[in-house]
């Protein structure tokens, strides 16, 4: 395959291994490698900066989000600070929001929150890492705002009409994290144990945490 026959690039190719093999190396892998080489050679990006950014990305994990939620469940003062100013509160836990600010929205008996970004795929990456594929998909971006309850059902989440569904379109400078309700049957659990039941999808607001 030459680099200009993009049309033959298959999107359902097997996932390549880490050892470059020309038959396994896809068009966009080659492109990423070429971009990296040129940007470093031209002095636009330093190898150090690139390594730092790669390491930061690899260090991101939804587990950190789970720790935030579990602490909010077990520490009412922290919860107040988190809802008041999410950016500042997560700094206490060594987490940074970068250029954006964090808004934490709380699920209650009356309100369920869910997050989408219809314009691109804004997501609290500095906390949770890269968003899942479904969050970036046209299906989710198009439908979450117009038929959130149908979308929630596809994730197995059925909510009664007595509960308000509040969709947040993350379209500008804020990033969002849902503070779910602590599930029944988890009273007295430690923060560490609680953190384990908080999934990434629960913090986006498409599922509810299960004990």
């Amino acid at each position: 395959m030459t680099t200009d026959d993009r049309g033959t690039h298959s999107h359902d190719h097997d996932h390549p291994g880490t050892t470059p093999d020309v038959n396994e190396t896809g068009y966009y892998e080659l492109m990423a490698e070429a971009m990296k080489e040129l940007l470093i050679e031209k002095g636009v990006v330093s190898a150090d900066d690139l390594r730092r950014n790669l390491e930061f990305l690899d260090s991101r994990d939804p587990v950190d989000g789970g720790k935030i939620i579990a602490r909010a469940w077990t520490d009412p003062d922290f919860k107040s600070r988190l809802l008041e100013d999410g950016t500042k509160a997560v700094e206490e836990m060594g987490l940074t929001m970068g250029d954006a600010e964090l808004v934490v929205v709380e699920n209650t008996d009356d309100v369920h929150n869910m997050i989408v970004c219809t314009l691109c795929s804004c997501y609290p990456r500095t906390i949770l890492g890269l968003p899942p594929d479904w969050y970036k998909s046209k299906s989710y971006r198009s439908r979450a705002v117009v038929e959130p309850r149908s979308v929630l059902k596809e994730f197995g989440t059925e909510l009664p009409d007595s509960k308000t569904v509040r969709v947040h379109d993350s379209n500008a400078d804020m990033r969002y994290l849902v503070l779910p309700q602590q599930p029944e049957g988890t009273d007295g659990w430690s923060a560490d144990r609680l953190a384990e039941i908080v999934t990434r999808d629960a913090m986006v607001g498409v599922v509810l945490p299960q004990a």
Partner: protein, 100 residues
């Protein structure tokens, strides 16, 4: 005043496929290059979004990191950092090296 391709709220679309799939190493590379250039104000996220929105529809509808790569090539060409031909040439060189 048509709804543009990236501005998807309310568009018709099919069911959500929620299978898990980790970003491949090259996708993380693209993300990290973008982050490094953002830190140095060489390429702002708003500029990258603009370049994404202006992609031809067949490219915009590709995988997220594929369209990021394409938009970065266009934007950095606009900024005089490289030309698309230069990137394509380097891809051919890397490929030739892999073929040994």
């Amino acid at each position: 005043m048509n709804q543009r391709q990236h501005d998807m709220g309310g568009m018709d679309a099919g069911p959500i496929e929620s299978s898990a799939h980790d970003a491949e190493p090259w996708a993380k590379m693209i993300t990290s290059l973008a982050a490094a250039m953002r830190d140095d104000d060489i390429m702002r996220i708003d500029e990258l979004r603009r370049a994404l929105e202006d992609l031809p529809p067949d490219i915009y509808s590709q995988d997220y990191f594929e369209r990021w790569s394409e938009a970065m090539i266009n934007l950095l060409e606009e900024k005089g950092i490289w030309t698309r031909n230069e990137v394509m040439g380097r891809m051919d060189a890397i490929k030739a090296k892999l073929e040994g």
